[in-house]
Symmetry: C2
Subunit: 429 residues, 2 copies
């Protein structure tokens, strides 16, 4: 049986533990992202505790808003696992024991040479008219209930069980209920710009994109030291969607200029690593206020031993001198947080580690140590390569963690600019 | 007017942007945590897009489950800001313009010498019978609607506006609707143990705690390299709750032994810093596979210049020799990932940086570089102090990021054990 394509979905994550301190429901986001590629929008999502009445109400409510309702969790064998019963009650349907599923559960226990606890029988209960969705990674099967104009999916809660079953759902029963339209996306990433600066640069393009047929939707995501632009287009024809996205990303990249560091799915540290490898250069760091964070971030990338040799963590002034060779007199004259010391750290990293590129960072991360002339957030970042030496004075706004992370992102961006032949501090001026 | 105390709450976060890629609703968790301290449980939470019908339905649904409904977001001045109207419709009430609020909004714009856009008038609309909740950080006021047995709160979406207004709500209109019972909590943190090991050690205690009057609830949170136990007790009498929690935490700490590193609200790196300061010792690191992460984590703590001097990032073998003085012959004989090299790194960090304590880390973080004898996840962590020298061989399971983070946590735990006079590798044996 195949009906009209679904447009609106709602997810319900079941489990009181998901409402407790520090627990996160990751399933709903994963489901929303997957459905979005199929052109199905999630219009609401909820988390409901293990309470039969509350759950039944959630299902009834979702059926008033959405074509497709996806529940995750509450399919275990205990008294707290109420999803099957709640959906059956909401639909006014009965449940029956599925002999084949019961045999599977028994076989699973037999393979582990454990007698099946009586309560696990409950996991063989299917809602009247439901299609069983096999769970290769657990005892709880999923269920798919086709209601004609709507459908309900029940998936298990553990993400490693849910993930493969979601794919099975998309390839299987959901496939006939998806229209030919797909949502496709492209993105770009910007360093060293505020969200509002990016927004205002792109404002005229937004209007153009919205007026196109099909329209292009834009979303801006701001992270520390990084702004991402994501463009989405929904349509049936892949070629024209790809072309429209390509053109729009190109226009956005032109408008934003060299602040755009990539239009691929790569991080700043991956890009910097790739550029270093292409240049045949290696890098070393000398870090004061970041205490090793820049080295850590560069080595987050697998294979980074091909472009990073190592570095110096010069937190104390004595080690700035002993490890990086910064003259004590220079520190005494200008202060540890100064352009000359940052430049000496970059040069020292390069010389002591024998690399082509050296980066030095010194600053005041806070919360203490700020002065009127050099408030918390003042950071000097220097780079030295065989072709250039440069230093940027930044004043980051935020707490200690923010200042440190911004410092590392700014250093990586200077490295990226230097390696692409651009002025490493031109963008920040 | 004051009614029966509230027991069950539901939160509704409003805004289509919260359903989009990568956006997170942080308000609901903050509200749940604050209400929990007042003995009010959140039984469901949802995120609903900017759609009048969907929102009205969400409010009606929540009123069937909860005594207290807290909505955040959708109080702005645009056509997409539908929360006021949706709540009014759900209750069958009208709205009126609040002259005092309109004057406040006008004054706010006047202070910034901007004419008030006509659409901002909408933010002066109050639902019939609502109490206005002032917003010191924005133009959108909140609203409080007392329904007798139930109540609805409307709060703005931006967290910096929502947070202070939530406190105002708790101190103000909500104060009369809170029972005398409070939920109080205590916790402890464990290093170097798996979640299941902690669970099975605590299992007998769980049963005892549940049987107590009032019962103690336990929650285990697992993070990388850290397990947290949180105990909760709900009751009217503060003294007996505090005593019950104290006794229970003591019993849990006894059962878990030296793997418990703190019963305070402090991180492993904060604890290690405090212990170093108490000992009057300073530390230096020499990091290979972690590339600076240990230095970064130690310096996450404000004031860490009092106990960390710095360190060496010795990613390449050449720098292990040049910076940390590890003999090239030692590397050639045992391999860079070996106990002798880890010990030499710790000794080298100590000697080159002139500190009392040195820590060395060398390992295979992956995804490549593993061998049959030393698979990915093999990490040697060495510590040297004026009193001892020790090295632990670990085999961490997980991807590159997990192996690196576990390595850093294990190193900090060895430091903590060494500083408290315990065997730094006894716990891991």
């Amino acid at each position: 049986m195949s009906g009209a394509p679904f447009a609106r979905a709602e997810t319900i994550a079941v489990g009181s533990e998901l409402l407790a301190l520090g627990r996160v429901d990751t399933n709903s986001g994963q489901i929303a992202a997957r459905l979005a590629t199929l052109g199905i929008d999630v219009v609401a999502r909820s988390v409901v505790g293990d309470h039969a009445g509350h759950l039944e109400l959630a299902v009834r409510t979702a059926l008033q808003r959405a074509d497709l309702v996806v529940l995750t969790g509450g399919l275990g064998p205990t008294d707290d696992d109420l999803t099957r019963q709640a959906v059956a009650s909401a639909l006014g349907r009965s449940m029956h024991e599925d002999a084949e599923q019961l045999a599977r559960i028994e076989a699973r226990f037999a393979r582990r040479a454990i007698p099946m606890p009586a309560i696990n029988r409950r996991q063989a209960l299917l809602i009247e008219g439901a299609l069983r969705l096999d769970n290769p990674n657990g005892t709880a099967p999923g269920q798919w209930i086709d209601l004609g104009a709507q459908a309900i999916a029940l998936l298990p809660g553990p993400p490693r069980e849910m993930g493969p079953m979601l794919e099975g759902l998309v390839e299987g029963p959901l496939a006939t209920r998806v229209g030919r339209a797909r949502t496709r996306s492209r993105g770009l990433k910007v360093a060293g710009r505020s969200e509002s600066a990016v927004e205002s640069t792109l404002q005229p393009l937004y209007a153009e994109w919205r007026a196109q047929d099909p329209p292009i939707d834009a979303t801006i995501l701001a992270a520390l030291g990084r702004i991402e632009l994501h463009l989405f287009v929904r349509g049936e024809d892949e070629a024209s969607a790809v072309t429209a996205l390509e053109t729009a990303i190109g226009a956005a990249a032109d408008a934003l200029g060299p602040a755009v560091y990539t239009t691929r799915d790569e991080s700043l540290e991956e890009l910097a690593g790739r550029l270093l490898r292409e240049a045949g250069w290696r890098v070393a760091v000398a870090e004061s206020c970041t205490g090793g964070m820049l080295g850590a971030r560069i080595t987050d990338v697998p294979g980074s031993s091909a472009w990073l040799d190592g570095g110096l963590i010069t937190y104390s002034n004595a080690l700035k001198t002993a490890l990086a060779g910064v003259p004590a007199a220079l520190i005494a004259e200008h202060g540890a947080v100064s352009e000359p010391v940052a430049r000496a750290l970059a040069a020292g990293a390069r010389a002591r580690c024998g690399t082509e590129v050296g980066i030095g960072i010194t600053g005041i991360a806070g919360p203490d140590g700020g002065t009127e002339a050099k408030p918390v957030g003042t950071v000097f970042i220097a780079i030295e390569t065989p072709r250039l030496a440069a230093c940027r004075q930044a004043r980051f706004v935020g707490d200690r963690a923010v200042v440190r992370q911004q410092s590392v992102s700014a250093a990586l961006d200077m490295l990226r600019l230097a390696l692409t032949g651009l002025d490493p501090i031109g963008e920040a001026r």
